[in-house]
């Protein structure tokens, strides 16, 4: 079965997370910028005079579609790389995926999620 990981992390942690994922062999991914709100309430910005509050903070969302059996390891890897211990570190969501189709090759399912040198080519099984 295939899953999708949505990890919402700090912008400044993206490089660390990417590095950590590369190390364990996670290749396919995409990212985009979002603004979010959670336990971290907001941020105080300076205006022309005094300050004001902004309640949506810039974060990066990282999406990875991958096989079931790699989910836990990937989640752990992201967590370790993305954590600072302070509010606003972010959150990870896991969703079911029904199918995957690679546009160029027409591969489907698990096959479509294979990359040269990725996590599944590294270890037995």
């Amino acid at each position: 079965m295939t899953k999708k990981i949505e990890a919402i992390i700090r912008e400044e942690k993206l490089n660390d997370v990417k590095d950590a994922l590369r190390e364990i062999g996670i290749v396919g991914m995409n990212v985009f910028e979002i603004r979010g709100h959670g336990r971290q309430g907001g941020i105080t910005l300076t205006g022309r005079t005094g300050t004001y509050q902004v309640d949506l903070l810039p974060k990066v969302q990282l999406n990875i579609v991958l096989s079931d059996h790699n989910v836990e390891k990937t989640v752990e890897t992201i967590r370790r790389a993305a954590m600072t211990g302070q509010e606003g570190d972010g959150i990870i969501f896991i969703y079911p995926v029904e199918d995957v189709i690679r546009i160029r090759t027409g591969e489907r399912g698990r096959e479509a999620l294979m990359y040269e040198g990725d996590i599944d080519t590294r270890r037995p099984g």
């Binding site: 105080t44 910005l45 300076t46 205006g47 022309r48 005079t49 005094g50 300050t51 004001y52 509050q53 902004v54």
Partner: protein, 408 residues
């Protein structure tokens, strides 16, 4: 017979170009501070003044302001269509350059002044009404007061009021008119409830950088010659901008962090404040004038916005109204004949009368601008409507007024 001095003419030509550039610079200064959905609309409110007022000035504006005096209040119609304004100098205004150069230089002031007011009503003004307003305002407010202060025979000029480069004519008029207009049009939806984060502070930095440069033409050009006085005005101008920028930085630092938007705002406020004084005070006085302008405008904004008294959106009143007022009064304090023998001594040089004159001139201009603008705005509101609908405001003026998007 007066003859044309090519150096003076070159400088006035350049100064005209520099002051013309201040209007697009202002467009970016303002455009960076509104919300993304109103960037284009805000840029345009300034830009279109270059088109509209250029023609107004050519056709009759210059004549009303600088034509033959009528009772000290208004110029006559002798210069309609710039008739008779040509290569010959007009010694009443500038003895060594073509009369037309003076008219062109003055035109740039007439353009930027209503552009300054736009900061009061960005993000909600109906464009159509704005065009009518600007034309009326230029005609009924700017041209007369410009005559009072600078026109040959103008009452405030005769009174001895000093306004080197437009502290009263430009900044007090713009600031107090902005106040009146903001009161009539009312606050933006969500004012005081949601933060209105500036869409693009680099635009504001760009605008401020070009404004600073352009102000050398604004104040330096007001010497109307490439002489020591022009140089002096350039130095005082630069000094006041620097001082106010630095002080504003420290003020915002005290409140949180040194704000970049604050620094550039401070610089502009310093430029405003030194405008009436640039050719009358010493550089060290300019340092003080700029340095004190910053807290005046800073705390005025804090007071007005903090208490949600009024949504004068980009702080035109606080920055230009109060900055111009302070500058006009400061001129009455710091002016010295040692700098400019055609000027006067101020209070600190033993002439309290000059301070009084400055006060009277500033107050009269401010009151006139405020009242007349209030009336014009009220009338236009009742007839054409000053504001877009709430839905249009929510969508943003770029789409609702222009059907354009700043960025694809």
């Amino acid at each position: 017979m007066d003859t044309i001095n090519s150096g003076d003419t070159a400088w006035l030509l350049v100064s005209s170009a520099l002051v013309l550039m201040m209007t697009p610079a202002l467009a970016f200064f303002y455009g960076g501070m509104v919300r993304k959905k109103n960037v284009l609309s805000t840029l345009n409110l300034s830009f279109i003044m270059m088109a509209l007022i250029s023609i107004q000035w050519l056709l009759y504006g210059y004549s009303l302001a600088f034509g033959t005096d009528h009772g000290g209040l208004i110029g006559g119609l002798d210069f309609l269509g710039l008739a008779g304004v040509g290569a010959e100098p007009n010694p009443d205004y500038a003895a060594t350059v073509p009369h037309l150069a003076f008219a062109a230089f003055q035109m740039m002031f007439a353009i930027i002044t209503p552009a300054l007011i736009t900061g009061a009503f960005v993000e909600r003004v109906r464009f159509r009404t704005f065009l009518v307003f600007s034309l009326l305002w230029a005609t009924l407010v700017y041209d007369p007061v410009c005559h009072w202060v600078w026109g040959n025979g103008g009452i405030l000029r005769r009174l001895g009021a000093l306004d080197f480069a437009g502290g009263t004519v430009v900044h007090i008029l713009a600031g107090f008119s902005a106040l009146a207009f903001a009161m009539v049009i009312g606050p933006r939806v969500g004012f005081g409830k949601y933060p209105f984060e500036p869409a693009n502070i680099p635009y504001a930095v760009l605008g401020a950088g070009l404004l600073w440069m352009g102000w050398f033409g604004f104040n330096g050009g007001s010497a109307l010659a490439a002489n020591g006085l022009a140089v002096h005005a350039l130095v005082t101008t630069n000094t006041a901008a620097a001082a106010a920028g630095l002080v504003w930085m420290f003020l915002s630092w005290r409140d949180n962090k040194p704000s970049v938007l604050g620094i550039v705002t401070g610089a502009v406020v310093g430029l405003v404040a030194v405008t009436p004084a640039a050719g009358f005070v010493t550089p060290l006085a300019a340092l003080l004038i700029g340095g004190l302008a910053a807290p005046i405008s800073y705390y005025a904004i804090k007071f007005i916005k903090g208490r949600k008294l009024l949504d004068e959106s980009l702080d035109v009143f606080a920055c230009h109204g109060l900055g111009g007022l302070w500058g006009a009064l400061a001129t009455g304090l710091f002016a010295t004949l040692a700098v400019n023998s055609a000027g006067a001594n101020g209070l600190f040089y033993g002439n309290p009368r000059q301070f009084l004159i400055q006060l009277v001139a500033a107050a009269a201009s401010a009151a006139f601008a405020f009242c007349l603008t209030f009336v014009i705005a009220k009338v236009l509101n009742a007839t054409m409507g000053l504001r877009v609908t709430e839905k249009e405001e929510a969508v943003g003026l770029d789409i609702s007024e222009h059907a354009e998007r700043a960025y694809a």
